[in-house]
Symmetry: C2
Subunit: 206 residues, 2 copies
């Protein structure tokens, strides 16, 4: 079912979920596709079409914030808790490891890896740390499903290979490298920060 949701739709729905979380926190009970469209900078039609991938979810007086959030949560399995790990505990890896936003999400950072053993010893954190060569074993043993790659570009592919060896199901890659992976069941999302600067450079006039 979820497989049939187009990626652009999934991306919007994920953001919509965050919007609904905020609206709910603000005490809002109902919201229309028109308002959601304004908030998200898309047309109301798109909002309705997107939501309709889960069948009827609204009424003639709009959508119930909590019901809709719940529908998305169930439909996209956001209610399932996922174990994750971070490989490469440098600047970016540490920023992520200490990110407070995971607290009230269903993402559990269960392990951190680095090839620099000294680094592992000096870091102060509650999260279990391991040398990089243990990635396959630890990922498998702890059934970690998601991996974050924040190693230098030269080490990105081999890191991905180790994660895949351990049976990882999804990867978020921060290194400016295109990860090669022949298993189509493994989802890979790339996060190219520097590219964003370039894209902006090209988008702004002169």
């Amino acid at each position: 079912m979820k497989q049939s949701i187009p990626l652009p739709v999934l991306e919007r729905l994920s953001i919509l979920y965050t919007v609904l979380e905020r609206l709910e926190k603000e005490g809002r009970t109902a919201v229309s596709s028109a308002e959601l469209g304004r908030i998200m900078n898309v047309t109301p039609h798109t909002i309705r079409k997107d939501i309709n991938y889960f069948g009827q979810a609204g009424s003639e007086s709009g959508y119930s914030v909590s019901t809709l959030r719940n529908t998305l949560e169930k439909g996209l399995r956001f209610d399932v808790s996922r174990k994750a790990c971070i490989v490469g505990l440098g600047r970016m890896g540490l920023a992520l490891m200490n990110f407070s936003g995971f607290k009230d999400s269903n993402i559990r950072i269960e392990a951190g890896f680095d090839s620099n053993i000294n680094r592992l010893e000096t870091l102060k954190t509650d999260i279990e740390l391991y040398p990089a060569y243990e990635i396959p074993e630890v990922v498998k043993r702890k059934s970690i499903e998601l991996g974050v790659i924040t190693v230098p570009p030269e080490a990105a592919q081999q890191t991905a290979d180790k994660l895949i060896q351990g049976g990882i199901k999804g990867i978020i890659n921060f290194a400016p490298v295109i990860i090669q992976c022949d298993n189509p069941a493994i989802a890979i999302r790339n996060f190219y920060v520097l590219e964003e600067f370039r894209i902006l450079s090209a988008l702004i006039q002169i």
Copy 2:
């Protein structure tokens, strides 16, 4: 001209540029659309169509790595140096501020901002730091074109407003908030890390 390049194409071309940089560094002189397609996980047709937005760029023996990189550089204005600033010098903001990848890019981080004055005083960096209320003045005075938002979600919109007030041309937003901006000339790119975990959750089976 560049306005007419579709966004998906621009995004791929930006990555292609990075790939070409690497190939050039490795000493490669020529490359075919087929090989680029394998590297980038897209079809060779897409590669050729993308490149063709700049007119003919290859020959019957493929593309010259350096010529193609140069064509993209000129066409997408990657040769133009851009001044940028970072607002919110917490975990993520600092990771970015100390990111070594800017060194050999055309992005110059010219200023850092934070609302916490104590924080500004304790940070050790070569980059000039300012309190957040000075954003409009400093951005205008230094002609800073790009702004990065790494403040807590509640402060994201007001930060964007200040950047816009200063005449910013493009924004990279890390806060899980949809920035409202009625000026269509200002480009905004969102970087929702937590959403990526959610999207992966939805993509992987069970």
